[in-house]
């Protein structure tokens, strides 16, 4: 066990995977000499050289498109998008090329590609740097999407993503990079993709969250406990594939559910969770599932983002209302 911040865990994992498998390479804007704008790739170029740690031109579609080609040449690219908000410049390549090559070629061209992208609000960054865009990617078939909330899972999921034979979008919480620190298992640590983590067991209300909102949910759960409400926090971790069984098991037990996400509400991934839960747990539900989210507005100016991104107070309020329903 080593205590690490998320960014340290990510950096260490990249280094270990590159050392383990010489086909693994890192590419993106500023990932080389500078080691990434958040230092996720610090030291990698020095250790593995400019052929395996590549500063690309500023061209997101090119980066993802090239990663597709690199994978078909037998490399294992780990592409960094500087912020998830610039994934959209590559949206056609991510959603409709990367996610479809295996299918299109009847399995002849599987793509072992990982895309890392920081995202999430409340760090005083402007729009596009902060927005949560998970749902748009989740609706594109053929992509796996993971979003760790602990340093241990940051390592476990990144290891699993890089070794996964299929494309994985790996979402990193800007706010958690340095704030979140926990024990990371030593050695080869893989977190299975497609399984929730019960971040806190509880009996009264299930809160479904992922990425940094798990931290808020855990805080809210502690506060709720003081009021006698026992909250179960389920860390979704893997949006695609979704652990339907794990989610259903929790809500079946509690009968009450709150979903937390940072994206605008309309057609956010929270809607998918609500729809899944109501399908699988219809008869167990004792209260309507509450969705917390960003609002259906563009991401506001940074001084207002605390009013936009769900926080502990809003989660606690929703938990109370749901418990009391």
């Amino acid at each position: 066990m080593t205590t690490q911040s998320m960014i340290e865990a990510i950096r260490a994992t990249l280094e270990d995977e590159m050392a383990r498998d010489e086909r693994v390479m890192v590419l993106g804007e500023d990932v080389g000499t500078q080691g990434g704008v958040f230092r996720a790739t610090e030291g990698l170029k020095q250790r593995f050289g400019a052929d395996r740690v590549v500063d690309t031109p500023v061209a997101e579609a090119g980066i993802i498109g090239a990663s597709i080609g690199l994978a078909t040449a037998g490399m294992v690219p780990v592409a960094e998008l500087q912020f998830l908000g610039f994934a959209h410049q590559a949206f056609h390549q991510i959603g409709f090329q990367l996610g479809r090559f295996r299918y299109r070629t009847l399995g002849a061209f599987p793509l072992q590609v990982t895309i890392r992208a920081p995202y999430g609000g409340a760090v005083h960054a402007p729009e596009l740097h902060s927005d949560a865009f998970e749902a748009m990617l989740a609706n594109a078939p053929g992509l796996k999407i993971v979003a760790p909330s602990t340093a241990a899972d940051a390592r476990g999921l990144l290891t699993a993503a890089i070794r996964d034979p299929d494309p994985v979008i790996y979402l990193e919480p800007l706010r958690g990079y340095r704030l979140v620190r926990d024990d990371v298992p030593d050695g080869d640590h893989l977190t299975p993709i497609g399984a929730v983590r019960i971040a806190r067991p509880g009996t009264d209300v299930t809160v479904l969250a992922w990425s940094f909102q798990v931290v808020n949910a855990l805080e809210a759960a502690e506060l709720a406990a003081e009021e006698g409400i026992d909250v179960e926090v389920v860390d979704i971790r893997s949006l695609v594939p979704l652990d339907e069984a794990g989610i259903a098991a929790s809500v079946t037990r509690t009968g009450r559910c709150v979903v937390v996400e940072e994206a605008p509400r309309t057609a956010g991934f929270g809607a998918e969770l609500v729809a899944t839960v109501q399908e699988l747990c219809f008869l167990d539900l004792e209260a309507p599932i509450v969705r917390l989210s960003g609002w259906d507005t563009p991401y506001p100016m940074p001084l207002l983002e605390r009013d936009y991104v769900p926080d502990t107070a809003r989660i606690l309020d929703a938990v109370r209302r749901t418990a009391a329903y």
């Binding site: 080609g69 090329q97 053929g142």
Partner: protein
């Protein structure tokens, strides 16, 4: 910018015959060009009978496809094609029957040759250009021999992906050759509305080699591509070849070009038919004659007939194919959907 040319419009060789082209290979090029012309006719007929979805005829572009393809080494090089590159795809070993099945929308039409050096045909314009760069770059990193050739159109060249790919090819020294088939049209939009620039000149802007070539001259296309390939495999980086040619047919079988193509312009373009030009020279050189033409046509027709037989024998599409190859392993949610599908199907039948 005057296009590079080896055969003048009258079919006279104005330079040296490129290396590597013996009588057999020249005849092979002629045969593949003929195959293209007749495939167009056959496929259009099939489409009219409801056997194909839409078909994109290639007539007029035989020289650009075949010349550029023959200059590559299909044993090590890779092809990343746009639609309308059926000849290049066949040259890389795609069975013609599979090609027809693909145009019919049959799942079996998605099967690529085992050797893995042929990419799937791309639907989204220029989206495959960065793939070609990554592939070539990866081949260089892996120390694999060969180069990559990637065809797309004058229309596709306006897409952002084309620029990002070419610029990336420059900085990565990727052994890739972009062949832009400037056939004068992007569906109904003429090249004059597509760009005011010279496409080949874009190479200078991104630091790769550039060449404007008469795309109706199969020898010039061969020579320019061979030179680009030599540079690529020797570590000299990427090349952009603009093949100046003309689309003699419709955009696809769903298109009616008489709505927008000027009849006189088309007539004029027909006088630059790449097949005629090459045949004239081949005949003058004693490399081709009526007998060989007849034999070639018989060979072509036979291949097409075989393909149609294979096509007809494919049987109905298997709906189970729909759920396969999404991921290496099927996630539970998809398994549940498959069960839902099967239940609904039972019900429907």
């Amino acid at each position: 910018m005057e296009p590079y040319r080896l055969l003048d419009p009258e079919g006279r060789l104005t330079g040296d015959l490129p290396d590597g082209l013996d009588a057999d290979r020249l005849a092979g090029m002629m045969r593949l060009m003929l195959l293209g012309r007749r495939l167009d006719e056959k496929a259009i007929a099939l489409q009219r009978r409801g056997k194909l979805g839409t078909y994109a005829p290639l007539s007029g572009q035989e020289a650009a496809s075949v010349g550029s393809s023959f200059a590559m080494d299909t044993d090590v090089d890779r092809l990343v094609p746009q639609y309308r590159e059926q000849l290049a795809m066949l040259h890389w070993g795609l069975p013609l029957g599979t090609y027809l099945l693909q145009r019919y929308g049959h799942p079996k039409g998605a099967r690529l040759p085992e050797h893995g050096r042929l990419y799937p045909q791309q639907v989204a314009l220029a989206a495959h250009a960065p793939h070609a760069v990554g592939l070539a770059w990866g081949m260089r990193l892996r120390g694999e021999p060969g180069a990559v050739i990637c065809h797309f159109g004058d229309g596709a060249s306006s897409e952002g992906d084309a620029h990002e790919a070419m610029n990336l090819a420059g900085v990565t020294d990727a052994p890739v050759i972009f062949v832009i088939q400037n056939n004068g049209w992007a569906i109904s939009v003429p090249i004059a509305s597509q760009t005011r620039g010279v496409i080949a000149r874009r190479a200078e802007g991104v630091g790769i080699a550039g060449r404007r070539v008469d795309g109706n001259d199969v020898l010039a296309m061969y020579a320019a591509t061979a030179e680009a390939r030599r540079r690529a495999v020797e570590g000299g980086g990427a090349t952009l070849i603009e093949a100046v040619t003309y689309r003699l047919g419709a955009h696809t079988t769903a298109d009616d070009p008489t709505k927008y193509v000027d009849a006189a312009e088309l007539e004029d373009a027909r006088t630059r038919d790449p097949l005629v030009r090459f045949r004239t020279w081949m005949t003058a050189e004693g490399l081709w004659d009526d007998e060989r033409e007849q034999a070639a046509i018989a060979w072509v027709d036979e291949r097409i007939e075989e393909a149609v037989v294979e096509f007809d024998a494919a049987g109905p599409a298997d709906p189970a194919a729909m759920f396969e190859h999404v991921f290496a392993d099927e996630p539970p949610r998809l398994a549940r959907q498959r069960a839902e599908y099967e239940a609904a199907r039972e019900l429907g039948s």
